[in-house]
Amino acid sequence: MAEVRYEQASRIYPGTPPVMAVDRLDLAIADGEFLVLVGPSGSGKTTALRMLAGLEEIDSGRISIGDRDVTHAPPKERDIAMVFQSYALYPHMTVAQNMGFALNLRGVSKETIAEKVTEAARLLDLDKYLDRKPKALSGGQRQRVAMGRAIVREPSVFLMDEPLSNLDAKLRVETRANIAALQARLGTTTVYVTHDQVEAMTMGHRVAVLKDGVLQQCDTPRTLYERPANAFVAGFIGSPAMNLHTVPVSENGAQLGELTLPLPRATTANLTEVTLGIRPETLRLVGPEEAGFKLAVELVEELGADAYLHGRAHLGDSDQRFVLRVDGRTPPTIGQTVNAGLRDTGEIHLFHPGTGERLD
């Protein structure tokens, strides 16, 4: 068990021009914390994890695990265990041998290895498969073997690189809960990489959002959702994504079609435009007499309890797309024009139209 610290850690991929895969990352992960690194493809999240694992060089800055500087230490000296996206099981070894391999290398006695493997196998419901080779296992079982291999080591830190992305949807949700429960039980510091923001929100104590190798925000899931630091985080966290539109600012506030949204003067001083962030659940359908803006319905996604309405509104001189969460029992139909209003003006997020930074 240990805390993990990235200090200005960078990874530069050589080339013309060189690419900053991870750009001066500063991150402190507390002992026992479950931290999720999330971001779109190419955001550097996997590179950041591999730097911690020792599989990727650190070009500048430093990384420490516990009190130890491991910046240039090889993987085996870092006391970490990693679960790979492809599981990376040893194909020529049985499940038991796969799980016991690391201990075997360290010269742990056979009896101790067998004991620990059996214990981990029971925890992961793998006892029946200990003598099988990976090829004779299903995807979900292979995933659990990869987890087992990490658990048996009793490392200071678990590293997980999109461990659920090869599972089907149902199993993914199940395994997601299992991993979170397991981590809580073992209390081992965990760094978990995913591109799936639902995974990030449901599993992490804190979530670090990366984009183009730069850390955008690192906070609890709730804070990320309620107070995104910039327009990128706002658009990335939440499903369906937040509606982000740049609208003109008038004397009275921001202008969204017929709707005028009063803005605190201090935050929008000197700006002629502002980027509005409105979550789908902040919008609602209103009657024709209420203040709102017209929306032509293009698509209705019915999810049972709720429905998501995708529509196009004519604002200013261009068409803009919006998503609304509406009641699942009586959704409008395609082709209809509806009037959209706000539930609560306090739930609107304001961002700088140029930099995308949060404005309050």
């Binding site: 993987p75 492809s86 099981l89 194909p91 290398l105 291999r149």
Partner: protein, 293 residues
């Protein structure tokens, strides 16, 4: 559940093609099968002829309308054994086995350095290896002969071992490298995280996974060394002569001994067949066997 604008009507498959499809498919399969059998027979026929001739009397072997029906005899095999095949077999076996072991011992680390942990200029190194095969052996035989003579190493199995190793090493490095590249990178990384040393990474993870590829490479080396004729003919005479040289002995100035030659050739094929059969067990094993996904 998604409601969207109605999609264009699904494309309709005409029932006509549904009736004709299977028949055409059957015909195509049958013609491919027939072609494959024909090609197989063309390749196999000389081998069959060799084996048949080996069981003939010398007089039956010479008939201009070849006899398909004849009374088989083992006398040619006996004659071959009586003419002292032993030392030739031993020399061939020694040169083949030792050169193959040497090739693998040198080729595996080289291929590792050119694939998994690429050294700088690995492309140039690879090209250098294969470029040595571009010169015909005939072009190099005089300098090789002179060098071997001056070293006092003519008619010596050791010389053949060294030459066969050099001859097979480039191909082996290329083959091994391509097999090594098939090993999922993440499996090796997992091993490094688990704490392997470089040596353990190769012996405990890499080699077991690429065992089929190593078997294939070894088989190729065995075949090439066993059948090598040119060096053996030019650099050996009595003590170190190998099987191919022995075979030529049946083409004498008094005439060809077809049946004896066929019997000796049949015997010469057996070790290679045996090696192929042993390697096959490894070859059929799937390469990565569910390591990833």
């Amino acid at each position: 559940m998604t409601t969207a604008a109605p999609a264009s009507p699904a494309d309709t498959t005409t029932p006509r093609t549904a009736v004709r499809g299977p028949l055409r498919h059957l015909l195509r399969t049958a013609s491919w099968t027939a072609g494959a059998w024909l090609a197989g027979l063309v390749f196999f026929f000389p081998v069959l002829w060799m084996v048949l001739t080996a069981f003939k009397q010398e007089s039956d072997a010479y008939t201009t309308t070849p006899h398909i029906v004849f009374s088989p005899t083992l006398s040619q095999f006996k004659a071959v054994f009586d003419s002292g095949i032993g030392p030739y077999l031993a020399n061939s076996a020694l040169a083949t086995v030792l050169s193959t072991i040497l090739v693998l011992a040198l080729g595996i680390p080289a291929a590792y350095a050119l694939s998994i942990r690429s050294v700088r200029k690995w492309r140039d190194a690879l090209f250098f290896f294969i470029s040595t095969k571009m010169l015909p052996v005939v072009a190099a035989i005089i300098p090789i002969y002179l060098a071997v003579r001056d070293l006092g190493a003519l008619d010596n199995v050791g010389t053949l071992i060294v030459l066969y190793t050099a001859m097979n090493l480039p191909i082996a490095v290329w083959m091994l490298r391509s097999f090594f590249l098939e090993v999922p990178r993440e499996v090796l990384e997992a091993a490094r995280v688990d704490g392997v040393t470089l040596r353990q990474e190769i012996t405990r993870i890499m080699l077991p996974i690429v065992a089929p590829g190593i078997a294939a490479t070894a088989l190729i080396c065995v075949i090439f060394s066993w059948n090598e004729f040119f060096f053996a003919l030019n650099l050996t005479s009595v003590r170190a002569a190998t099987m191919p040289v022995f075979l030529v002995g049946f083409m004498t100035s008094e005439g060809l001994y077809w049946a004896k030659l066929a019997a000796a050739a049949t015997l010469a094929c057996l070790p290679v067949l045996l090696a192929g059969w042993i390697a096959q067990k490894q070859l059929v094993r799937g390469l990565s066997m569910g390591a990833v996904k």
